[in-house]
Amino acid sequence: MRLAGRVAAPVILLPVASAAVAQSIPSKFNLPPPVTPIGAQIYDLHNLMLIICLVIFVAVFGVMFWAVFRHRKSRGAVAANFHENTSVEIAWTIIPVFILLGMAWPATKTVLDMKNTADPDITIKATGYQWKWGYDYLQGEGQGIRFVSNLSTPRDQIEGDAPKGEHYLLEVDNPLVVPVGKRIRVLTTANDVIHSWWVPAFGVKQDAIPGFIRDAWFRADTEGVYRGNCAELCGRDHGFMPVEVHVVSQQAYTEWVARQLAAGAAAPATGGATAQGATPMPAAPAAEEGAAQPAPANAAPAGN
């Protein structure tokens, strides 16, 4: 038990200490520092549960290892013969129920918060393609902007022929841009198979399902660049379709929107070109045939 106690103290303090520094430093050991209210709730909820679980773990296995070291036959231990105790058994059935209630209460509030996607300032549709993301600004400032976001990590970095960059596999040609402090509603859908739009720092992961629209929301309170991945296996290049979101000031966002819309107006009437004049938008997704279809030609950063 002394040994268990010595081990336990730092183990219990670890998440507390890491929570204190988490707001600033990205951790290799924990969820990324949250920048949305939902993300912060999830972060705290995880810390709470981790601590409760660690305490129970230390208590239960403190008892077990006490038995392992003390009640050994080689130390002359003689077995007792008890094999039931109704009150103890009822206690260790009822008490966990109350612990679970304590966990479920904050979790319920977060679920209800996550699911409340009403009254967005800006609505953006994210469409999953094999293997890239398409973004349509549907409502709010920036309405009408649409572009495709491809992995921008060069092929020779993946193949090992060039040194890997700082944001290896987490960088795109056309990042999603949103203003800080605004309620952004993300509608997700897909063109071919199921994808999942995920930005860990926002606490948002929403599957993009062909033929259906789902939604999620976030309000990023800190400017910066936030990166994520497709989180649902979607075929060959599932690992090569990152999400990159730039959260910028209101002023910078307004300027970005103006540039995008100007570039869009200058583009051919078929529309859908990006500011950089890069990739045209593939065919409208909605309820596309889910069956086998050739991958978009410009999609593949890896394997052929």
Binding site: A79, H83, W92, K115, Q206, C234, G235, G239
Partner: protein, 525 residues
């Protein structure tokens, strides 16, 4: 009492010899042995796939395999380990042990028993053989989510047929176990006197009968979507891709308990033996097992929190899932209470059992954490989930299987397994398992998705560590081959009661157990 009476009471070796003995055998011990050998071969095959995956993930960048083949490896690793290794291994234990533990002369349907085993090798050939067909094996994940599985080549069809065949095999095995346990117990052995291993298998068998047809339905719908123009999972034709997930996980979550409840049973046999003290809370163990099984039917959508279901749906499945922690906790508490004030010794079976409790409980806690919907949305489809289910499937099911193997090898072979090698096997497995899988919790929390052949640079350190652990773990399993072969060939003679504290009918017959046992049913007081 005995529903099956062997024809030749005194001429035990009347049947065919050589290979045909094994092809035609209806003896539960022969069939159990074949199940165990088959599952170990599949375990090694799935292990080779896993080590190829880990080799590719040793460093960032693509070095060894291309992404499409990588996805085939992860898919087939899952299918081979679940349907080829873990499930048949438990059926092997059931075949060997249930008749011995309830005092029956054999399984109830001896010929069906033969068939349910011999369906497995063709299924395995279909599964492994799919690597060599045009387009290779299916790369849609072991979950075979539509519409991705609809895009796959002929390897997908082979996997679907393999799953069909293995499902039929499992259902027949399960029917056999239910009928044997309910009808062939020795006089005096009431249900509540039955060893816990038989109880957990009885409940598992009902789960199998309930959910394997559901899986068959799901994959059959994928098959018709692929080839016959149906649109079960195609929105353009009025179907719904998410419906596949609902059907799949209605099978898939009970399946999780199919793979762990018999493990609970094995642990509940080993702990009292080496604590030299009866199992604490026998009745509550039975009720907890039943409670877990019943709850397992109402939690399936916790695998689907990110598909976007209504808040009420998320809350229901979150609460129901959290509730499973209660009966699971009861089991852990009961095992610890069994050890408390016992007279403990730590031969290899006990090491595996204690290791199981410790490491499985970590998997139980992470299971509770991912049950909470908001946290699950953050860690769904990341390495956190990979860590979680390997803690319950490897440190859970597999550790229990090894514990059971060391425990009953004396009864099967007549020789004690090499204790020193058994301990080395345990400690290597325990240490390397944790080196391989513990860092994956951190990887998942920090944001590394699963099923990717290449990753961002921030994940490099832990991936390298995990790969080292995985190779150590994989190589450690070769020790078991040495132990098993040595034990079959010779070693210290095992007494009928091979372990000092062992209790139960199987320890009343000689070691090795004669070809036919309990031709006359024993009487249990």
């Amino acid at each position: 009492m005995a529903a099956v009476t062997p024809d030749q009471l005194h001429d035990h070796h009347h049947g065919p010899t050589g290979l045909m003995r094994w092809v035609t055998t209806t003896n539960h011990k022969d069939i159990g042995t074949m199940y165990l050998i088959f599952s170990f071969v599949m375990f090694l095959s799935g292990g080779v796939l896993a080590l190829t995956i880990r080799a590719e993930l040793f460093q960032p960048g693509l070095q060894i395999v291309q992404p499409e083949f990588f996805n085939q490896l992860t898919t087939m690793h899952g299918l081979v380990m679940i349907f080829g290794a873990i499930m048949p291994a438990f059926v092997g234990f059931a075949n060997w042990q249930i008749p011995l533990m309830i005092g029956a002369s054999d399984m109830a349907f001896a010929r069906m028993n033969n068939w349910s085993f011999w369906l497995l090798p063709p299924a395995a050939i279909l599964l492994i053989g799919s690597f060599f067909v045009p387009g290779g094996a299916t790369a849609a994940g072991w979950t075979m989510y539509a519409p991705l599985s609809v895009q796959m080549g002929i390897g997908q069809d082979m996997a679907i047929f393999a799953v069909h065949i293995m499902g039929i095999s499992s259902i027949m095995g399960a029917i056999n176990i239910v009928v044997t346990v309910l009808n062939m117990r020795a006089p005096g052995m009431t249900l509540m006197k039955m060893p816990l291993f038989c109880w957990t298998w009885l409940i598992t068998a009902y789960l199998l009968i309930a959910v394997m047809p559901v899986l068959a339905g799901a994959v059959t719908m994928v098959l018709t979507d692929r080839h016959f123009g149906t649109s079960f999972f195609n929105a353009a034709g009025g179907g719904d891709p998410v419906m596949y997930q609902h059907i799949f996980w209605f099978f898939g979550h009970p399946e999780v308990y199919i793979m762990i409840l018999p493990a609970f049973g094995i642990i509940s046999q080993i702990i009292p033996t080496f604590a030299r003290k009866p199992l604490f809370g026998y009745a509550s163990m039975v009720y907890a097992t039943a409670a877990i099984a019943i709850l397992s039917f109402s939690v399936w959508a916790h695998h689907m929190f990110t598909t976007g279901m209504p808040a009420v749906g998320q809350l229901f499945f979150m609460y129901a899932t959290m509730l499973i922690a209660v009966p699971t906790g009861v089991k852990v508490f009961n095992w610890v209470a069994t050890m408390w004030r016992g007279s403990l010794s730590f031969e290899p079976p006990m090491l595996w059992a204690v290791g199981f409790i410790l490491v499985f409980t970590i998997g139980g806690f992470t299971g509770l954490i991912v049950a909470v919907a908001p946290i699950d949305i953050q860690v769904q489809d990341t390495y956190y989930v990979v860590a979680h289910f390997h803690y319950v499937l490897v440190a859970g099911s597999l550790f229990a299987l090894f514990g059971g193997a060391y425990y009953w090898l004396p009864k099967w072979t007549g020789h004690m397994p090499d204790e020193r090698l058994g301990k080395i096997h345990f400690w290597c497995s325990m240490v390397f398992f944790n080196i391989a899988f513990f860092p994956m919790h951190f990887l998942g929390l920090a944001g590394m998705p699963r099923r990717i052949p290449d990753y961002a640079l921030q994940f490099a350190d832990f991936n390298m560590l995990a790969t080292i652990g995985a190779f150590g773990f994989g190589l450690s399993q070769l020790i078991f081959i040495v132990v098993a072969v040595k034990c079959v060939r010779g070693g210290a003679k095992a007494a009928a009661r091979a372990w000092e504290g062992a209790d139960g009918l199987e320890w009343t017959v000689p070691s090795p157990a004669p070809y036919h046992t309990f031709e006359e049913a024993p009487v249990v007081r």
